[in-house]
Amino acid sequence: MLVRLLRTYLAKYRTLLILVVALQAAQTIAALFLPALNADIIDRGIALGDTSFIWRHGAVMLGVSVAQIGLAIFAVYYGSKVAMAFGRDVRSALFHRVTEFSAREVTSFGPPSLITRVTNDVQQVQMLVQMTCTLLIATPFTAAGGLIMVLRLDAPLTLILAVAIPVLVISLGSIISRMIPTFRRMQVRIDDMNRVLREQITGIRVVRAFVREPFERERFGNSNDQLTSVALRGGRLMGLMFPTAIGIVNLSSVAAVYFGANRVGSGEMKIGALIAFLSYLLQILMSVMLATYMAALVPRAAVSAERIQQVLDTQSSVADGDNPTMVLPDHASVELRNAGFQYPGAEHPVLANVSFRCVAGQTTAIIGSTGSGKTTLISLVARLFDVTSGAVLINGVDIRELATDTLWQRIGLVPQRPYLFGGTVASNLRYGKPDATDDEVWRALEVAQASDFVREMPGGLEARIAQGGSNVSGGQRQRLAIARALIRKPDIFLFDDSLSALDMATDARLREALVPNTRDAAVLIVSQRVTSIKHADQILVLEDGEQVGLGTHAQLLKSCPTYVEIVNSQLTNDEVAA
């Protein structure tokens, strides 16, 4: 998955990548050149007492250093460019894909998970690319180049590397391979502990009311202890890593001098070469170390890549056909013909065989217990996902043949959870109609019974709304969401249990005000309250996804036992009759 993702999104930057590799190779060669020059200084300058040779070679070393840095900076420049562009492209592809998704795909992934994938997961993979381009690419060159240099200096001494490199890789590798699961477990325990804390804060009244502070302390204490024990293990492993690496490098140096002395003593090697050998040893082992550390990033990035690829590989179940209808007849209506929805692989349909028709100026109410399929029905009409059987018709046209834009222009949806966007009251209403004038905005607020509290908010129309609408109450949020739908003047209104947070009086006023404003539209309204819907033109009763009744309040009281049961659970006898 990681390879596939990298291959797809790095293809565009092939030329830049080749450039980065070339620059890194060149700067590595330059760096490797320095100890060789130093060896010359020792063997030909110092040993022979030739000071001018020392100066000349010193100047060459200086030149090489500066050249190396120039190359390295270019490498970092292009490397960062590639990595950041890669991150940007993947993020963009993900975001575009998710915005194309229908509600069905979004629900199956879950919004929080999708958010993490676009932010955190992309970050992980991007970091790997960044590290690779700026650091990791250089390591094989350093290792290989260094090896060639030491082989040229003295082949037999190179055997030290044959021991040192595996020892280094194995010992660091075994520490890291213990660290990865330890840190993963640590993350789980951190999440556990945070969950306990979150529960304590949200449930603080219950904790205090039941005097369960001691129990909570113990519960927290356990999580805290568990976290500490795994964090301790992680900290100790991490503490082992650095001394081990340094220790192996240092002991290799001692070994090099030990065996090197013999070769120098027998005249098979020059002393300058021995010192250069020590430098190369250091450079090679350091790059091996770096590569081992980097390898630890790969598993995590691979997991992230898989999560990203899953999203990219998922197609939206709602998409425009080849020749979508762009124009709709004017007379508003909604019709369901044996409409049903079933998740693939699910035993029972969420909704089955629903048929009714609602025309302009009429209100159809939908009632039923939780899980009876009310919200699914609304989502099918809004084409947030598609029916799996039957059909939904808007103004007489099957919505699957319509261009999605044409459909959505005609819909005014007020969802069950009335989500508001960060911005102002006005910007939220203009989400419904971008070119609405202030007058239109006020009129919509008026009808939605929201103008009073908006007027009292600091700034009025320009009052800040926090993301999600968390700074206004539930009832205010619902009324703003209703205003947002009203301002569109749509053909079809979909109210999904949109008045639940209002008190009865406001609910009644709002319903009254809605009547003249929805005269030309077909209205579908989901509610739990019998009082809110009993005057609807027709009432659809759902139970377990089945249509068990359709008619007026009076008709259903006679014909539909489920409806009667619901009514009785809410109203007293005289209220039923009222």
Partner: protein, 632 residues
């Protein structure tokens, strides 16, 4: 290994889903603390109980750095032996292998002992840091239970959560990371400096010059990159907020046909993020080559100057070799220390936010056992029956906006008192006062004749059972959640409570029955079922006083009937306070209080209040608006 000195926050290791309230954990800027010195001293002060261990950490750090720093010098001596033997400088011919091997074994010994001590340092330090963090977390949790609710209410919940989770996490991660590296770094730098001075002060001078040079370069780069990093974090924040908003509001975006706008907006921010992060990464990426350059310039200078000195015999070749190693060792911890200071800063800033919690006010102390007993002795009758009296009670959350004023009422034992009224009338506040969640501004509340402030909180609260609007359950099994009401309850008692409150009926359709674990979002049971569990919890607690805050708007009507039935069963024989939204459910209450703006505007039974034709009747009619209601 050179770590690029990017002032990035520690990777907070969020492996899976997001946690906590703070979304942008990936790109949190290195927040500056308000008073770095004070907060860091206080954090250091928390190491107090670990003092002996901390001293050991310092000692082993010193020993290991000393030993490891001596290594290159010893190796240099070995090289000197070889060089002198070759060039005949020591007068002998050939290398003195016996002396050479002695020196080399000595070096091996140094490195091994040094290794042991440096691991010892890291090992002990991990313990010191983790135990300190354990105590810090425990203190914060302790604090949560002693804060007055009025303080908690004033805090944004997300912010508080973020402090107790993300900030504590950040403190512990940055301490773990930075302390060890800072210690090693400082010791190594000092040790290396001493060794260099011992070998040749002239060469040492060359190396030392590179210190201000590299600090200067790093400062310049950091100065440039800071603004870019800030820009990167800001754009990351904006981008994450956009992603969160778009995905959470996904159905609205679709149904309102705003997909293309959302995409265009995202792409614009994404491009800005790219520009900012590219320049931030590039500039900070230059730190490494720049320090390498300084290191190399050092290397060249020492190779040349040292070479000249060896040529005129004022220095051994091995010393130059050692020097080259030292100068390399010198540059590296410098950059590392610099990057660790950034980590440390972000940790201290978090610590400061955590300390603010620890400094928050605490609720007034409970009376001592003695005082409580004394207060009990002076009051008649002593037996617990559940009579609650409000005597001229006034209360407000904020001094300038009075909420409850001069309120008096009596609830006789066994009576049901219903409280109705519009949102914001003070209904929930009233019952919270009985629990002593808040302190009164004036007046007093008595339980069976005793002022509740003379009781210990557990004594008061253990007599009261509460069912709240928001059905809070903790992440445990259904059985444990019911038993939350009474620790000493047997399994049979739990089962009996479950049966009485209709929990038993749905539990059997769950795969694990009573051992079903309720997770965070409680997806396995519905809202109504959760509410039934909270009722069973209160039932099991068997209190003499009950407080029921009805929550029915999100529950379907047939579950609601069950909840109503369970609640009325629970009320039997107990003094009950019921907050009702639907008036039809409280018709049978002994007393109905109609509240508005913190005052009781009407009080009486259902038929009395209807007959009076006041606020209660108006509320009653509003529930059936649009229809003429025929009231008897």
């Amino acid at each position: 290994m050179n770590t690029p000195a990017s002032p990035s926050p520690p990777p907070s290791g969020s492996s899976g889903e997001l946690r906590g309230g703070r979304m942008n954990t990936i790109g949190v800027p290195t927040e500056k603390s308000n008073d770095f010195g004070l907060a860091s001293r206080r954090l250091l002060g928390r190491l107090g109980p670990e003092k002996p261990k901390a001293v050991l950490v310092l000692l082993s750090g010193l020993v290991s750095a000393g030993l490891i720093v001596t290594g290159p010098k010893v190796l240099g001596n070995a090289t000197n032996l070889i060089f002198d033997g070759l060039t005949g400088r020591d007068g002998s011919d050939g290398i003195d292998f016996a002396a050479l091997h002695r020196v080399l074994w000595f070096a091996v010994g140094l490195y091994l002992v040094g290794y042991v001590f440096s691991y010892l340092q890291a090992f002990l330090l991990a313990g010191v840091v983790q135990r300190t963090m354990l105590r810090l977390r425990a203190d914060v949790e302790d604090k949560l239970h002693t804060m007055p609710l009025s303080y908690l209410d004033g805090q944004a919940r997300g912010d508080l959560l973020s402090r107790v989770t993300n900030d504590i996490d950040n403190v512990s991660q940055s301490m773990q990371q930075s302390l060890s590296q800072l210690l090693t770094g400082v010791f190594t730098i000092t040790g290396t400096l001493i060794m260099m001075l011992l070998i040749s002060w002239q060469l040492a001078l060359v190396a030392i010059i590179s210190v201000p040079l590299s600090i200067f370069v790093m400062k310049r780069i950091a100065g440039h990159s800071r603004s870019r990093f800030i820009a990167q974090w800001q754009h990351t924040g904006t981008l994450n907020a956009q992603v969160e908003e778009t995905f959470t509001g996904h159905p609205i975006m679709k149904a309102f046909g705003r997909q293309r706008e959302a995409q265009a907006r995202f792409d614009a921010t994404n491009d800005e993020l790219y520009d900012a992060s590219f320049s931030a990464q590039f500039i900070s990426g230059c730190v490494q080559p720049a320090t390498v350059l300084i290191g190399n310039l050092n290397y060249v200078a020492i190779a040349v100057l040292g070479g000249l000195k060896v040529a005129n015999r004022s220095l051994g070749l091995g010393d130059v070799q050692a020097f080259i190693q030292y100068s390399r060792q010198f540059a590296q911890p410098l950059t590392q220390t610099a990057s660790m200071i950034n980590v440390l800063q972000s940790g201290i800033a978090s610590a400061e936010r955590v300390f603010e919690i620890l400094d928050a006010p605490e609720q007034s102390a409970d009376p001592t056992f003695h005082e409580a007993t004394l207060a009990r002795a002076t009051v008649e009758p002593p037996e617990r029956v559940g009579r609650i009296e409000f005597d001229d009670v006034s209360f407000s959350y904020r001094a300038d906006t009075p909420l409850i004023e001069h309120l008096s009422l009596v609830a006789e034992p066994g009576q049901t008192v219903a409280i109705v009224g519009p949102t914001g009338a003070g209904k929930t506040t009233l019952v919270n006062l009985i629990m002593r969640f808040y302190e009164l501004d004036a007046g007093r509340i008595t339980l069976d004749g005793r002022d509740i402030t003379t009781m210990r909180r557990y004594e008061l609260r253990s007599q009261i059972g509460m069912v709240l609007q928001d059905a809070w359950l903790f992440g445990g099994t259904i059985r444990d959640n019911i038993a939350y009401g009474n620790v000493t309850a047997t399994d049979e008692e739990v089962l009996a409570a479950a049966k009485a409150c209709y929990v038993d009926r749905f539990v059997h359709s769950l795969p694990a029955g009573y051992d079903t674990v309720l997770d965070d979002d409680g997806s396995s049971v519905s809202a109504g079922e959760r509410q039934l569990i909270t009722i069973a919890r209160a039932f099991l607690a068997n209190p003499s006083i009950l407080i029921l805050d009805e929550a029915t708007s999100s529950v379907d009507t047939r579950t609601e009937v069950l909840i109503q039935r369970a609640m009325s069963k629970l009320r039997g024989g107990r003094t009950s306070f019921v907050i009702a939204h639907r008036l039809s459910t409280i018709r049978d209450a002994d007393t109905i209080l109609v509240m508005d703006s913190g005052r009781i505007v009407e009080q009486g039974s259902h038929s009395e209040l209807i007959a009076r034709g006041g606020a209660y009747l108006a509320l009653y009619n509003a529930q059936f608006s649009g229809a003429a209601v025929d009231v008897v």
